[in-house]
Symmetry: C2
Subunit: 326 residues, 2 copies
């Protein structure tokens, strides 16, 4: 949670990225990134060669850009590496797949201490390991801002992928993992606050339940997605792709973890964070009615005929989540 400038006892004691050079950096990164069991060729060649056991590979790529997705005065290298991993790992899980590997493209100013890059890499690898994956390759470049583009690969283990297009009228709508906590943490940071610490941490280090993705697939989920742009916005994509409407029961959304933050910020409605806050990367799924769910799946509504997303039977007015380019 500290910027590189504020990081005590590190920083200028290590060579800068410019002093280390591209190949020096890659050598040090590779030495700390163990190859996974499915890695036939890892870091240091033109490309990685990775196992794809069922003859298919799930693949996704996501940016994490300084000034757009993070600020170095709010987030330290560990936070940034963690979040870069989360975005791609959650997308893999959201197909019902097990994450297997990440490829990391990393650009940074040459004056940055190399310890900063190594801390970022360590956090990225740690979150990948939590999901069962390893860092298998990447690219480095010099740029005047810190840029990350992380590719996530995954294994469907013989199952069909769970897309956004399979929800049917009558299906149960359920979520695994928290909602609105990252958005509340970001609002606190924007207001210059550092507490409640749990919400700050939820923004800087979201912890998606990756294994809920394959679990949803095994339970028979008809549609699955991670909440990256906000519940209403993301459910809108499932509604469009599946040709159904959703009705969210607001009473099923737990506002309690957000009440203190809403109070600290004066005028905020916690429900708004739950409905429109993205970046928790929790998993939202539809299941046929009567599907016996495990306890981590919280039923929050249902699918019906029509289109769009309602809250308690009515259109929700207010911001509808994150829109890129706007």
């Amino acid at each position: 949670m500290t910027s590189d400038d504020a990081d005590p006892g590190r920083g200028q004691a290590t060579p800068s990225l410019g002093e280390l050079g591209e190949f020096g950096l890659i050598e040090r990164l590779a030495a700390r990134l163990p190859a996974g069991p499915g890695t036939e060729v890892g870091i240091g060649d033109d490309a990685a060669v990775l196992a794809a056991p069922d003859g298919r590979v799930v693949a996704t790529t996501d940016f994490l850009l300084e000034g757009r997705h993070f600020r170095r005065d709010w987030a330290g290298p560990g936070d940034i590496g963690h979040r870069a991993a989360v975005r791609s790992l959650a997308d893999v899980a959201a197909m019902g797949a097990r994450p297997t590997a990440l490829l990391v493209a990393f650009a940074a100013p040459p004056g940055l201490p190399s310890s900063w890059a190594l801390d970022l890499s360590a956090a990225l690898a740690a979150e990948a390991a939590r999901a069962g994956a390893t860092v298998a390759g990447g690219d480095t470049a010099s740029f005047d801002a810190v840029l990350l583009a992380v590719t996530g690969l995954g294994d469907l283990q013989g199952r069909a992928p769970v897309t956004r297009a399979g929800a049917r009228a009558g299906d149960v709508l359920a979520v695994a993992g928290p909602l609105g906590r990252s958005a509340a943490g970001l609002a606190l940071l924007e207001a210059g606050l550092r507490e409640p610490a749990g919400l700050i941490r939820a923004h800087l280090r979201p912890m998606p339940p990756y294994d809920a993705g394959p679990e949803a697939a095994r339970l028979g989920a008809t549609a699955l997605m991670d909440v990256s742009d906000g519940l209403l916005a993301d459910l809108g994509h499932i509604a469009d792709a599946s040709h159904v409407a959703f009705d969210i029961k607001s009473g099923a959304l737990d506002t309690r973890p957000l009440v203190a933050a809403a109070g600290a910020l004066g005028h905020r409605d916690p429900l708004e964070w739950l409905l429109t806050g993205g970046e928790d990367h929790s998993l939202v799924a539809t299941f046929p009615p009567g599907t016996p769910l495990t306890s981590r799946w919280q039923v929050i509504g249902e699918a019906g005929p029509g289109h769009g997303v309602l809250v308690d039977g009515r259109a929700h007015t207010g911001p509808e989540g994150w829109q890129h380019f706007r």
Copy 2:
């Protein structure tokens, strides 16, 4: 070869990226990007699902960043899309694999005309098609510079990957594709020149012989790499990984296509471009002595015991190719 500003009859007639929004842009991009035969899930879901026929996948990711790898006043969207595709496709071919799919992360200023992004995407898809691949997914973001991070995936078709580590003393060193032409073209652009047009084009639209990668594998290549940072620098990586030395015969390197450019720039030695110029993304390989090669493989030297890279038996003095972070 025109910037977006100079592009006649386009530009402000189309909505800007900001006006179109993220999902409007993705919808228009997806409509122009046909799914490949191996695409089970393509653009528009959390991740793509792609065939990996032999139970493995080759995977690489590369940045192409404005101000670092290209300038918008020298390169138009078609050039930039083309080069973004080349970097990853050549890395896949350099493992001996057939490229199958690209994932494209694309960031740009919101004021950019959407036609610019569509032209970039069309060129990216066209170069992918030349290599046998399709664009299967990606990410978009708003940023104050144009940023691309392209992931390339490929299929080894049951063969072993050809790494950098297999060259042996006595092996023949050969190259498929041109050397030094991109560097000569860049030097011309830096000097404000636009001719010889063939060299300018070699910089803006390099055309690697992707199918020479699988061909090299079938011919029994012991090591294989694409020349992205310069022949000396890249051969240095093979020498290090394989524990051999290389001796390049300068007389085997064809300076003729570069003589006019060297003359136009006054004081340049064409051999320097051939030895240290990167970004042609030609393929360099080692083969056991006596391997019958096809005509596109030009023998330029041999591997021996020792380490490092010599030219005509001597150490080469001068710049050693591109070093990131320096």
